[in-house]
Structure formats: C-alpha cells, structure tokens
C-alpha cells in the first residue's frame, strides 16, 4: 500500500469504475490467497455456505419432501449428483435445505451466547467485588460441564424446538464471552483514553460501548467464528442422536441418522451430509484461526501459516 506513491499508478487515477474496482479487489484477493491459502480456503467455503443457505433452496430443481419411488436409493448420477434416499428424494437438494437449518440454529445460538455472556462480563467487571466473584464462580461451574452433554440434557428435558436449541447450545458458551469481555474491560478501563472519555463526562454506558467495546471486538470476533463451528457440530450431533430437530426440519445430523440403517446398500446417504458438515466446520475453524493470527501473532497454532 505504502509503495503506491513510489511507482507510476497502474491505472488512471481518475475515479475507478465499478468494473475496475472489482478487478482490483479480485487481484488483491488473489494475492492474499497465494500468500495465505488456508484463510482463502476458509473464506471461500464460508461464502459458499452462506450463499447456499440463503439462496440455494430457491434454485434446487427438486422438492425436499415429495417422494419419488421410481428413483429410490439411487447412487450418485448426473440427475442426482449425491444420489437419492429411501423414498427417492434428491440428497443434494436436502443437503442444500439442511444448510439453512444449520445456519439458522448456529446463528441463534451464537447470538444468544453473545447477548447473555457479553453484558454479564461487562457488568461483573464494572461492578466488581462480591458480585464479580460470584459471577466468576458461576461461570466456572458452567464451564465444568461437557457442553454436548449439557445441551443434550437441556433439549431432552425441555423438548427440541429451534429456540430451545439456541439456548441449549449457547449455554456452555456464555462463560467464554463473559470472560473475554470481563478481562477486556479490566485491562482497558484504567487506560488514559478511557479516563479521558470519563473526564469529558461520558456516561459509563457510553464509555463501555463507544470506547472499550471497539477495542475488544477482535477477540470477540474470533470467539464468534469458532463458536459457529462448535454450534454447527453440536446441532448436528444432537440431531444425529435423535434429540435435535426432527422430521419436518431437514438437518444434516438427522440425515446421517436416517442413513445409518442403509449403510451397506446406500453409503452415499451418510457420506455426503457428513462431508457438507465437515466442510462448514472447516470453514469456520480456518477463518477463526486466521482472525486469531491477525490479532496475536504470538499464539500461532499449527492451523496457521508458519514462518516466525
């Protein structure tokens, strides 16, 4: 970027048209992808997933529910790239429909965890004292639970519905957000810029949202991304175990569950939803790790570019 002035501009400096801007953006993206292929794979997969979840069902040539006995249990073919299930429904179409359910459940779960955890962390660090200690203990207690088992028990007791899944999957993530926000607020609240804002008469709420929050967005963003991966995995595992969403909904986990009775005769029924699931979790994991890298090169884990 800083070298731009040193070289003659490659394009006329006059206002670039939309085509040119797009071209430049894609050049930049291509360079970034060569530089950091893993992030590129993650981002591409992520866009693909969101695109399919939002727009895919509108373009699917088949219906997700109408049986077609004539083509039942067919392996992958040109007409049905991922084969057909036991009553002749197109597996690819159902996977596309399933992407919407998984995105819907995961998004809700992440939002619930964020909305409950972040204010709790902010409050506990601001109030401090006994309240803070109490909240900390409660958060530690929740963290001691195996997140899948906790979600499983909650859904089993309260019955599966989309909002219940949001809460059940979110529950064990609440402490993570509370922790990030709490430690962020604690480190930032004594800094000069916060003191300056306070001296200028900004209210505590304003200091929190306008001063501190923008500074702790990076770790929150990382947590959100990795939480998506976890939420999608838990949702699928719950449906697979028969405790998540059931029949009118199409969930990848449920598709695998239904497929396991036909493992010998129709393995594609179990294989393709699993690949879709792994791909999506991979996307969020790669993007999350890449975000974490950018924010703190010190925590480079084997999932990222090396070259210290």
């Amino acid at each position: 970027m800083e070298s731009q002035a040193a070289y003659p501009p490659a394009y006329p400096p006059s206002a670039p048209g939309p085509g040119l801007r797009l071209w430049r953006a894609s050049r930049r993206a291509a360079r970034a992808a060569r530089h950091d292929p893993r992030t590129a794979v993650g981002v591409t997969l992520l866009f693909l997933y969101i695109l399919i979840a939002l727009a895919g069902p509108a373009f699917s040539p088949y219906d997700t529910t109408t049986p077609n006995i004539k083509v039942r249990m067919q392996g992958p073919s040109a007409a049905h790239p991922f084969g057909t299930d036991r009553i002749g429904r197109d597996v690819a179409t159902r996977i596309i429909a399933g992407s919407r359910v998984s995105l819907q459940v995961a998004t809700g779960a992440v939002i619930v965890a964020l909305l409950l955890g972040a204010p709790l962390g902010a409050l506990s660090s601001y109030v401090g004292g006994t309240f803070d200690a109490l909240v900390q203990r409660v958060m530690e207690g929740i963290m001691a639970f195996p997140s899948l088992v906790l979600a499983l028990a909650l859904v089993a007791l309260a019955g599966p519905s989309v909002p219940m899944l949001w809460f059940a999957i979110a529950f064990s993530s609440i402490p993570r957000y509370a922790r990030i926000v709490r430690s962020g607020v604690l480190t930032h609240k004594e800094r000069e810029y916060v003191e300056a804002a306070r001296a200028m008469g900004q209210r505590p709420m304003g200091v929190l949202t306008k001063q501190i929050l923008p500074n702790i967005m990076a770790p929150i963003a990382v947590q959100i991304t990795l939480d998506f991966a976890r939420a999608i995995g838990v949702e699928a595992a719950l449906s697979y175990l028969g405790l998540g969403l059931s029949v009118p909904y199409i969930s990848w986990g449920l598709m695998v569950r239904e497929a396991q009775d036909f493992l010998e005769v129709a393995p594609w029924l179990a294989v393709f939803p699993g690949i879709a699931l792994a791909g999506v979790i991979l996307a969020f994991t790669l993007v999350g790790d890449s975000l974490r890298d950018r924010m703190d090169p010190r925590t480079r884990l084997p999932l990222n570019r090396r070259g210290q």
């Binding site: 899948l148 906790l150 007791l157 309260a158 986990g253 695998v256 939803p273 790669l286």
Partner: protein
C-alpha cells in the same frame, strides 16, 4: 507444603461444586409439565391414581421450599444416594457404576492412544517445522477438529466392518470372557475417540515444543555438548509434557461428550449409551446421575492434574 496446596485447591472447588449441583438441580426442575408425572414416567394422557400421585409428590418432597429441597437433594448426593432408577427400580448409582466399566476402557484406552499419537507426532512436527511432516501433522489436526465424530465413527464402521469385514461393527464383549473379542470390539470406538483427542493434544504439543526449543536452557544443554537427540527428546520433551498433561486434563469435560456420541454410534454399553437410553425411557433420575457423574469426573481429573503439576513443579506450591 504440598498438603496445604491440595487443601487449598479442594477449598477452591467448593463454590464450583455448589454451582454445578445447583445448575443440575434447577435444570431438572425446568422440565415442562408436572415433575411428579415425569418422575412417574407417565406417558401423556395416562390415568394416574391420586394415591400414587400424592405418594410420589411426597417422596420427591415437592411440597417444601425450593432451597430446602436443594439442600436435602445435595445431602443425598453427598451420601451417594442418586435416587432410584425409574426403569430399573434399583439405585441409580448402581446402574451407572455397572456401565462405568466399559466407558472406563474406552476413555482410558482412547486417551492413552491419543497421547501415543500426539506426543511423538507433535514433537516431530515441531522438530521438522515447515516440512512435509509438519504439513501432514497440520492436516491431521484440521481433520481431527473439523470432521464430526459421529460421522467419522460411521465411516469407520462402513470401511472396517461393512467393506473389509475385519472388525465387528457394534457392541461390546467383557474382557474376562474373551480378551480377543473384547479388543476387537474396543478398537474402532477407541480409535475414533483417540483421533479426536489426539488432534487437539498434538496441536498444543507442537506449539509448546516449538516455544521450548528457543529457550535458554536448550541453548545451555546444546552448549555443554549434549547430542541433539538428548536435548530434544529428553530435556525439551520433559518440559513440554507439562502442557500435554494440562491439555489432556482440560479435554476431560469434552471427552464425556465425545464418548457419549461414540458409544451411541457403536451401541457400546457405557454411561453415554445409558444416558441416551435413559433420556428415551424418560428415566430422569439416571439422566441426572450420569450428568453429575460426568461433570465430577472432569472436575476430579482436573484436580489431579493440578496436584500432579505441583508435584512435578515445586514452584507452583509456593505461589
């Protein structure tokens, strides 16, 4: 000093244990509908006589204040009384303990196998940083983290049981009857558990090893003429094993969830299988017992890890 440290850690556990038990207690009470009917295992619309209903209500002590109920319930837990299983009509603890043995084989076997894969793997990846070994290890980590366990388990069944026919697809055989059959049944579920755990352990093992390799004591060891092999595999590994122990300890809570999934794919009769069965038969006494059991297992293992840490590293005791 060590005893004081252990005592301190135990005292610190009290609030956590209180919170955990409260969460379980209150979660069990958010059951929609009448807990009396749920505890009776009644299906919807079933006619329950008033006598039976009142007896169960009294037995559950639902007429008393909530806090009294909680303390009473907690006291029962402390004495090891989890209540009677609704389906089996015997103490829930007995039902759980019976299923604990297969789970213990699976967990211990899985963790041992995971460590056996992850420690040498992580060390090799760190030593041969940025080579094809390292890339291979990274690929393994990515797959281990992203591939859903239940699906990996199904693919394993598909390949090794259905296509190759080498191993039984599902079930369990007790080792006292036939050791070979026991191992044949254990190997697939154990490997699935191990691969999943190994991915996380390897990730941290590699990272820690890389960091340790740049520390002063390594330079000193090299400077005094020790061979590279001794430096890396003895000095560095010994120090980075602390991380391994911690990571394995932190995986314990996660491990319970993992084992629950794996046991249910393989119809492996452990506590995870019991948990799902009890949910389906609406035996909430056992559900509650298994959940508590899994949480306390994780807490206990982490306590042991902390103590182990203090034994291995005297500095921690004096903090």
């Amino acid at each position: 000093m060590l005893i004081r440290y252990v005592a301190m850690r135990l005292v610190q556990l009290v609030p956590m244990v209180l919170v955990v038990t409260m969460v379980v207690f209150f979660v069990m009470r958010i059951i929609p509908g009448d807990p009396v009917l749920v505890m009776l295992g009644a299906v919807e619309g079933a006619a329950i006589s008033q006598d039976v209903y009142d007896a169960m209500r009294l037995r559950l002590g639902l007429d008393r204040p909530l806090i009294v109920q909680y303390l009473d319930w907690l006291w029962d837990m402390v004495r090891g009384d989890l209540g009677d299983s609704i389906t089996y009509r015997v103490p829930a603890l007995d039902v759980i303990l019976l299923r604990l043995v297969p789970t213990a084989y699976l967990m211990v076997g899985g963790v041992v196998m995971a460590v056996a894969i992850a420690v040498p793997g992580g060390v090799l990846a760190a030593i041969h940083n940025n080579t094809k070994w390292d890339h291979f290890a990274t690929g393994f980590v990515i797959l281990g983290i992203t591939v859903p366990t239940f699906w990996l388990a199904l693919v394993a069944i598909l390949v090794f049981a259905v296509y190759l026919g080498w191993l039984p697809a599902i079930g369990y055989a007790p080792p006292q009857k036939d050791v070979v059959e026991f191992l044949r049944h254990l190997i697939l579920p154990m490997t699935v558990v191990a691969l999943n755990v190994a991915a996380t352990v390897l990730r941290f093992q590699r990272q820690d090893f890389l960091e340790q390799m740049n520390l002063d004591y390594v330079r000193t060891a090299r400077a005094k003429g020790l061979g590279e092999r001794v430096v890396l595999w003895k000095h560095v590994l010994r120090n980075s094993l602390m991380t391994t122990v911690t990571v394995v300890g932190l995986q314990m809570a996660y491990l319970s969830g993992l084992v629950t999934v794996v046991e249910n794919v393989f119809n492996y009769p452990g506590i995870g299988f019991l948990l799902l069965n009890s949910i389906h038969t609406r035996d909430f006494v056992v559900v509650q017992g298994v959940v508590l059991f899994m949480v306390f297992l994780a807490i206990a293992v982490n306590l042991v890890v902390d103590i182990l840490y203090a034994v291995l590293d005297p500095r921690i005791r004096y903090r």
